[in-house]
Symmetry: C2
Subunit: 138 residues, 2 copies
DNA sequence: GAACCCTCTTGGACTTAGTCCAAATCCAGC
DNA sequence: GCTGGATTTGGACTAAGTCCAAGAGGGTTC
């Protein structure tokens, strides 16, 4: 993730302790954290970091394309540090667990021109829903 | 939509003025309304209906499978009365407009067993993102 | 067609997720 | 080291939705 810090510096980011911590948290575990989870992990490393800063930094990372926002219909948005490898999500309808998956086809190709209504379509987001092995066993 | 009312009665629903109004609102315009928009349209027909009732009724319709919850990453969930014809959504990244679309392939088939991690996958939700003609012109 | 039971509705308080802002802080270039 | 302007802070605020106890009103029964 020092790569990430480099890239950010290259884009004119002023490097602060807070931003470094947020980046470290995202890099540390490749799970899909909510903003609040990022915040509490960040507080563990830098007690005086504020919620507002975490939101700011996450927002900036998203608009730079370094991190993806995922909204599987749960309450809170989640942040996915795996932005550079395109992938989709598999969500357990019961416990909310999320896994990254890599399907074979390209769903963009499945949308014929007649179904585009003049839109310039640039992106697809696919969410598979089902029951995870844990919940199925219970 | 009297069909819908029939189906609901058949499932043991007590038919009240409030529920009828919510069903009418959803049937009236085939757009994707937020709960609040449903509420304000319902108030126009039945001034004393409360927000809690609208939320309750929408939740019941969703769990009966008569209406779909759509969460394109905007703030609020939207409700899609078109639950009986499977379809996906095309969302304008700028103005948030939503259109129903019917792609050709079946994305479920694109997820190989090796990418299912033991999940019992039952559903896919596909959201295409782009810029609508209106916003592109502006 | 009156009475009753039980489901629905109400409205207001509460929760959760996130945004905003003015004042204080602190990075980076000189 | 100083300084200017970008960042951070924390607390108030907003939006969306949930919860609950009390009251209302469907529909069934006689």
């Amino acid at each position: 993730m020092s790569d990430l810090l480099e890239r950010l510096r290259g884009r004119g980011w002023r490097m602060t302790a807070q931003r470094r911590v947020v980046a470290e948290v995202l890099d540390g575990e490749h799970v899909h954290l909510t903003a609040d989870e990022v915040h509490s992990r960040a507080v563990a490393k830098l007690p005086e970091i504020s919620r507002a800063t975490v939101y700011n930094t996450l927002g900036e990372l998203v608009s730079l394309g370094e991190v993806l926002e995922v909204s599987t219909d749960k309450r809170a948005k989640r942040y996915d540090p795996n932005a550079h490898r395109p992938h989709h999500h598999l969500v357990c309808a019961q416990c909310g667990a999320i896994r990254d998956v890599h399907p074979s086809g390209n769903p963009l190709a499945d949308l014929p021109d007649t179904e585009r209504f003049g839109f310039t379509v640039s992106d697809v987001e696919v969410t598979y829903r089902g029951i995870c092995p844990n919940c199925a066993a219970a």
